[in-house]
Symmetry: D2
Subunit: 449 residues, 4 copies
């Protein structure tokens, strides 16, 4: 739903800045074996625009200028790989996210039943699965093996963080004679996928690399909503409800919830909209002052004195100016190690009110691992099913170096190199964020505008 997922309001203008052409391994000449009506196949030149301002559109086109457009995802009338000889591999990388197993299951089912591809292997524990020294055996995948995995959270294949040697990875692909590699991961994975694709090209191999975007933060550029996000928001709402109950139970009770969101506060904002119980929502996209007459602490004090309780939700990436180490540290995947804004706020609030002799009770909740490891909800389950199908259609058609994106209400192909250029963030002037402000009643927490 755009309401939740697309506060970026991706518009035609954004497309003008990106290269929308999708690479292929070569011409697709084999008739697609799927038994569906002819008109259900999607030709490559069926391209779509984004949701657009009609005036802009008319001006551009009536003056003969071309507008950028995207390749629609879907089964192609002709495919590149001969299903009877195709070997596919699947790998899942990075952090957990509800729905990964649904995507794995859908890829396997579509390869097997729609295309007749029966040789499918899973590489275990992320990119480590390609590196001999870790000794993680590959897993044979087929409908019997995957048929119930969507009932479990996590990833059936295991995952890991961190870089691995690209040449070793491609060596392994060659050794296993893989034709299509499906990579489920976030921007770090996309960067690895791009390098793998380049190494494949360098070696003159015919291996397609197809990515399915996974990020519980919903922060991948050019994707309206990533899978697992809805489920995550549901769980986040339960934590907020608990914080609210705790806050109301005592005089001057404060419920403080830290939610996922390293660079983008979508989960915090959506959960705020859904619960309607949050008084302060702090996200990485919006700077705030802690101290000072118009700062956050002062606003919190006002709220507490008026209503005797308050609920604060902070995305983990909020207020990093206060807590980031100098110089910053990085984790195995090369992501910056964020400072702990939750515990920082807890301490600051405690001290602030201690100085003012107001006895507050703070309940601090950090539900992150509980949120990301549950099975997908129904909405995400259906979504993941489609993502897996479209990834297979793209791979069988010989397309490579792309991700499957759900963008403005349609599934499209996006070049990986474009997806990693930016990060999707909340637009502070979108209806989405304005609705958050209306729901909390919070101001801007800035002493000077």
């Amino acid at each position: 739903m755009r309401a939740v997922c697309d506060p970026m309001e991706f518009t035609e203008e954004i497309l003008e800045q990106i290269d929308t052409e999708i690479e292929t391994l070569g011409p697709a000449k084999i008739p697609n074996p799927m038994r569906i009506p002819a008109q259900c196949f999607v030709p490559d030149d069926y391209r779509v625009t984004l949701r657009v301002n009609y005036r802009h559109l008319r001006e551009e086109l009536s003056q003969g200028r071309e507008l950028p457009s995207l390749e629609l995802a879907g089964p192609r009338p002709y495919i590149y790989f001969d299903p009877s000889k195709t070997r596919a591999g699947i790998v899942t990388c990075g952090g957990l996210c509800p729905g990964i197993n649904d995507v794995i299951r859908s890829i396997v089912m579509t390869l097997y039943y729609s295309y007749g591809v029966t040789k499918i292997i899973g590489f275990q524990y992320g990119l480590q699965g390609f590196i001999p020294k870790y000794r993680h055996p590959v897993v044979e995948l087929n409908p019997e093996v995957v048929k119930d995995i969507h009932t479990m959270g996590g990833t059936f294949l295991g995952t890991s963080r961190g870089h691995q040697d690209i040449e070793e990875i491609v060596d392994t692909l060659e050794r296993h004679n893989i034709h299509i590699l499906f990579m489920i991961g976030g921007d770090g994975t996309f960067r690895a996928a791009t390098k793998i694709k380049e190494e494949i090209t360098k070696r003159g191999l015919k291996i397609a690399v197809v990515a399915i975007p996974k990020t519980i933060d919903n922060d991948i550029w050019l994707v309206s909503k990533t899978f697992g996000f809805d489920t995550a928001v549901e769980l986040a709402c339960e934590a907020i409800r608990c914080a609210h109950t705790e806050a109301r139970a005592v005089p001057y009770g404060i419920g403080l919830v830290k939610l996922m969101g390293r660079h983008s506060g979508f989960i915090a904002a959506a959960a705020t909209l859904a619960t309607k119980e949050v008084n302060f929502c702090l996200v990485p996209e919006i700077d705030f002052d802690l101290e000072g007459p118009r700062g956050f602490l002062s606003a919190l004090e006002k709220r507490l004195l008026e209503r005797k309780h308050a609920v604060i939700v902070a995305a983990e990436g909020a207020g990093q100016k206060y807590v980031l180490k100098d110089p910053p540290e990085y984790d195995a995947s090369g992501n910056i190690k964020l400072g702990d804004i939750g515990r920082f706020l807890k301490e600051k609030i405690e001290n602030y009110f201690k100085e003012r002799n107001i006895e507050v009770v703070i309940r601090y909740i950090d539900p992150s691992y509980i949120i990301r490891s549950v099975p997908a909800n129904v909405e995400d389950r259906i979504y993941c099913g489609f993502l897996g199908q479209y990834a297979v259609h793209a791979g069988m058609a010989g397309k490579t170096g792309l991700m499957i994106s759900y963008l403005n209400d349609q599934f499209v192909h996006i070049p990986l190199k474009e997806a990693v250029k930016k990060r999707k963030q909340i637009n502070p002037q979108s209806r989405f964020w304005l609705s958050v402000l209306e729901s909390t009643g919070q101001g801007d927490f800035k002493n000077s505008p």
Copy 2:
């Protein structure tokens, strides 16, 4: 999410058939009191196209032809009604659907806090609430009254079915001095709303009528997804899971679930996609033969002999050619009374296997009232919040005779008279339905093509 909600794939071509102009009561001259950045207001001439085939678009516009477009919903820079004098009314009609209370709450909160409208009343028990003889008192609505109603299912205002006298309704609007009437309901309500609007015009009154589409079947024309649908699918999935468990527990077990869907099988189809446990999905849009070598019963027998159990999901409107009374009967709202396909199938299946001496065990589940009366899930909760906001923005701007629609990933204004012209149904050649077929493995159940 389109994946679930929009197997219609609304395209530009559809817009060409509709009148997209929105009526207004008069020019909006009062500056909007909302404290949001200027660029966040949406001018009336900001119009959007639907998701479009780029080639088609280019051809049309480059040849100087105009393309149809829709008015984007949102707060207008100028409004028609003076908030300090505005009186608003809310009514909920027809069957229950998760999220009604969220919409009521959002309308009240937005009127009160964003516009400063404090005189808001609720008419109780649907259109009966306007008719003196029923003696249903009106309810004063304000933030304190509605603040927790979203935690309950059903409708805080009550509802009813059936026609009421239009003149009496407008008399009551006059008597209560209502300026904006918000009507939450389905196509029957839309027809009443249209007549109310006409009577208002006839009397020269300045009362805006704004509708919010409500249908658990998700079958309203020109709406991608109606609120409550996601929640309904979640509950439907639980019933299917139980049917699956029951079916597997005994030799030749059959789980048969009847789901809502009078004319459109969206709930049945989406739940089939989500659970992955359904073997036969019957919807109103797709005709099927019961008997005969390629008919449904024969396919069911084959499945049972092979796998010892089967799960069948039937939308209530499926197979009406077998069960509809002749001549048909109608309920208070003028809807045709459907035959009971669930019990019919149960009986037919029992007889079919009795004749063949196969001892089957059928578990028949009809979860309808359990599905429609739960509180909205998080996704629907956020969605309903936006619907209520946009309805208020439209009403305050003096727009009338329209519904708020979420269409191809954007909130737009649609004239009510267009919304009632057709019903949204599953497109049998959409990826959505094809995915259902892939998931069930079912054929077409037709003896002759």
Copy 3:
């Protein structure tokens, strides 16, 4: 919890009427291989009384009279079967109930890890699994096979209803060389188990038969609470909440829920206590008049006129005097086929109010199959774990013809022949039922006392 499960208030007096001696196959001479402290073993002569009236107790004992007592369940210091040679069989019979898979899992785990018994087979589809003509193969059971089955509802082994030839069953036990047969089922199963035990004795075999009581109705004599009951009540409460929402949503709305409970209304009564939203609770134990000035319909009318809505819960066995066929019919298991009190009440209510020109709206919900097929909740999961353990301890000690009972807060051994003598029912003068009356405010619906 007794609050829910034991409105019978089993007391010492009840014990006086039963034979509490447990049969054994012979002396247990093999030291128990479990590595637990010596004092954790339970000797056979450790017997317990029920919860007792102290005065009664003192009188009896001080006058030298013996009081009856029960054999406490638990691991014996010595066992009868040599684990290395023992072969165990498991079968599940009758209707579904949450927790069956937990019991199966616990039996397998305890046999395997606590005693070292590795030869365990499951007979499929109830008693059919012993009869060659059905051709249901047996299933090898071990920790790997059962480790996740508790996450699913239903029964991993399948079930069926109906009698089977006892001699054929014992033939099969001999053919498979079974030493202990674990039977999970209700009173029908207990009767079969008793006959199987007798046939075993007749043939001079050394096979122990141990039953675990399963009945979602919680109606087995001499068991405080049967497994799955708590889970069932939870689900029943959800259905009632929906009925309540539906009833309140319309003028003169009536929510009518039929719940399981053929002869005992425990589910209906417990759900009434838990939801606090039921106005009329009808159970098999309490007779009621439908018509007449003090009858049910008259009370319903009074409630409706006062409060505009009503919620009715009826156990399926309530009011059978109105709906039972004459002569009665029986199902495959020999149980009487109950008349459909739900649809009968619906029709009667409709007619009653039609005659009085009161337009009521009835929402009828029958959630039975949804209730019994879900996985067990946490409480039942722990309970089932213990039942399985105690069954294994009894079987390994060579005890036979008994059921494991949870009675007045302790696990004990009860001879099967005693368990089938009566049915547990609600005591109309217990605090439990009085609390139901206080919660609903209902009267006795009797025209003459």
Copy 4:
């Protein structure tokens, strides 16, 4: 359910050590106004024994010795207070626990409907509510006010920790003319209640003090199971499942969950039994060594190398010998401030494996505030309903200085002074704890026995 709640196995021997006499304000002479059958009233001399070893019982009684017994809870035939003049007060103290609102609701409903007591007030925010300087106004309570509060977690009346002046409290009781004070709280509250009762006696007032035991840790002496415990275990299980998913998702993944349980590890142990996914369960009752060849870390290493993942559950009071401050600190209620065993273990484990060059990934989950603030589940809801009723029956009969206990499957009266003498803890040789050991497969983590 004893399985969960009563690993203490309260036996007759325990009763011998306690004074079981209940104090009263004076003779109860007013006929009980409840309209229930005469035989449903419970006379004071109806006393019950605990679950007992029959041999012991027989020996004692046959030799003429008296055995201790308890007063059964329930409505008395005669009451002390005249309902039309009675004023009752309710207060909730200490930490949150699921079900508090159910108890409040039940007290109010029973006072109002069963006895006709209409003057009921709630003191807000625990004992602070009696102290004028905090200015917390009292709340009028009646059926309309409390009818829906059970759908919310937390406490409708608010709570607080810490001592307050006993004389001021009794002053307030006098000022409000309270006759019965219901106190919902734990052992700290019991101590305050005892002092309040003594001050009442000293002043010659006729005010009854009735306590309802509340402790999420389930550690109150002489209570089989406290309310909210079942609900807490359910939530704890969800956290463990997430930890399990996280642990399995990565190579050498460790899920570490800290659960409530300051002195008694019931929640940790019960959740271990229910999930069957825990490999190490650490509770306050069982000492363990961290280092050394048979210590915890060594066992963890073994498990990790064998199975690549592990799940650890630690009650917050476990291993305090490692983390308690010296000298210890105390909170406002006088409870010792426990050291943070969760973070301590996390750090120790990290260091241990870093030294051994094994790259582990630890996911640490502390779900405490999420567990204690949810609404009660169905089981607890019914239980709380009874607790509230029995408290009212005791209070109206003029009994004082007691708590309502659910002990060995019956509701009884226990003198408060006995309840505070000890704490209930897991018996390491009970079947309950042995089952935990069997489920985890863990040893004793002791280098020397």
